[in-house]
Symmetry: C2
Subunit: 297 residues, 2 copies
């Protein structure tokens, strides 16, 4: 488990690959745009010109790609991962994709003697840079154990949550809770503003009780002050809530708040705000509400 192929050197993938280098792995990086490969080589890694070249001789193949179709392409194409990875190697897909696609990857891999884990991450660019991601892992016990050194080089909360696809299922639940918590803070802030309440004081006292959350802590001040620099882009969260909606339908489970916030996130993106931080959900609550009170209610 010394040689790692890393496919997808984007905002998240590049610092994750660098952390693997720092942990002593021999890392071969590949990305469709050659400039990102060059940057990785400059950071001390090895570069490849194709997926086939990257995965040849790799013990572990880590993928960090935008969406389900990208993962299917990279895995299943004639010039893709499964066509060129050696039997016995281990695939670790850190992309956030549909659980059913993750299971399809696991099954196709098994048919070729390749082991696979779905291992989506939470923690954002800063978490990736700091090697402090949360990683939710689906797959077999033995494969999780084998991947542990690679995962520990990228994250601090690394948890095996169940069989293939489970990591993606937990990530979908994560994105449900995060979107909902943001929307609830948005509703609370607009409500308090309309009543003329000092929202910075309110956020402080709300954070001290049962209403406290990581979202309130990390996003509260940005939301009261209306600064929406990402962070995490609304358009990506919109994609993730599509995964949640689809996976909840598949399982026959109701997500009443999830359904509402998925529509609101979609509306935010449709209004042209997909590039803003997901906390820009507060813009929709404002649109639906009276303007803030300037004086005592």
């Amino acid at each position: 488990m010394r040689t790692v192929a890393f496919l997808g050197l984007g905002i998240m993938g590049a610092p994750m690959a660098v952390n693997l280098l720092r942990a002593g792995f021999d890392v071969v990086g590949y990305n469709r745009s050659r400039a990102k490969v060059d940057a990785f080589v400059a950071a001390g890694g090895r570069g490849a010109d194709s997926i086939a070249e990257a995965v040849a001789g790799a013990d572990v193949v880590v993928t960090m790609l935008p969406d389900s179709p990208d993962v299917r392409d990279v895995m299943f194409a004639d010039d893709g991962v499964l066509a060129h990875t050696a039997a016995g190697a281990l695939l670790v897909d850190c992309s956030t994709i549909r659980p059913d696609v993750a299971r399809e990857v696991a099954e196709s891999s098994a048919a070729r003697g390749v082991r696979a884990l779905d291992a989506p991450v939470s923690g954002g660019e800063q978490g990736a840079i700091d090697g402090k991601l949360s990683i939710m892992v689906g797959g077999a016990d033995a494969d999780f154990a084998a991947a542990r050194p690679v995962l520990d080089a990228m994250g601090t909360t690394v948890v095996h949550v169940g069989p293939a696809g489970s990591g993606q299922t937990v990530k979908a639940a994560n994105q449900l809770i995060v979107a909902g918590n943001i929307q609830l803070v948005a509703e609370a802030v607009v409500f308090l503003e309309a009543h003329g309440v000092d929202t910075d004081s309110a956020v402080r006292v709300l954070g001290g009780g049962l209403a406290g959350s990581k979202v309130l802590e990390v996003k509260g001040a940005g939301m009261t002050g209306r600064t929406f620099t990402p962070g995490f882009r609304a358009e990506l969260h919109h994609k993730d809530l599509g995964i949640l909606t689809s996976a909840a339908r598949d399982a026959g489970t109701a997500t009443p708040l999830g359904a509402v916030v998925a529509q609101l996130m979609g509306a935010l993106v449709a209004q042209g705000h997909g590039e803003l931080d997901h906390s820009a959900l507060i813009k929709l609550v404002e649109q639906l509400s009276a303007p803030p009170s300037a004086d005592t209610p």
Copy 2:
């Protein structure tokens, strides 16, 4: 500010009054049922047989009552607080009531030369016993400063959030966020169960990232294990979401997730589960969903 009348010696009020005794205040307790007064006297307090007797000579009158009509009765009746409290005294209403009733109390008090603060609390029975409540205070700066020693004897996060009624407005926002966070965890847990995911591991990894919250920390295990011992009773949270709904209508603000969870909490109470902890919201999500998967999805 040495003599305090304490009206309402219930589950929350009794330990709050005892903490005032411990802080060195001379506390006269009153409750409609004499047994609770006797218990307070046994704990070292003084007892009164009427509101008039309790508030005579009090520098501060603290009230801790179930709902808005109770507060109006106790404040405005002929034998109530305002008829018998000396000018210059300070009312501190710790009940959770409608912001407009809190403002009515403040205005009627001012007309009689009595100062008033709304000061609802968060933290539950244990927080009341430990003197570690969060207290959200609405009213004038000088009155907040004067009440500080009394408030500090009962809570640790004591924040002045604005003019009269603001404490209740922030408490309504608190109850919106808490109910919503519980419902989101309920949706996530049922979704994960249906997909055959190990929910205890999932709760652990969710808590480590942006989905982390006080609700997940305090209620997560009870919800995966389906234990609904209060805690905070659903019927009280239902009352509080009525206050939120009404106050949001008054201000003309939209609370899309708040509206949904208010209906769900109402349904839970209507089904006869008002005595359960508010985390029993997960029972409704179960009713709307397929049963949990026993095996790999």
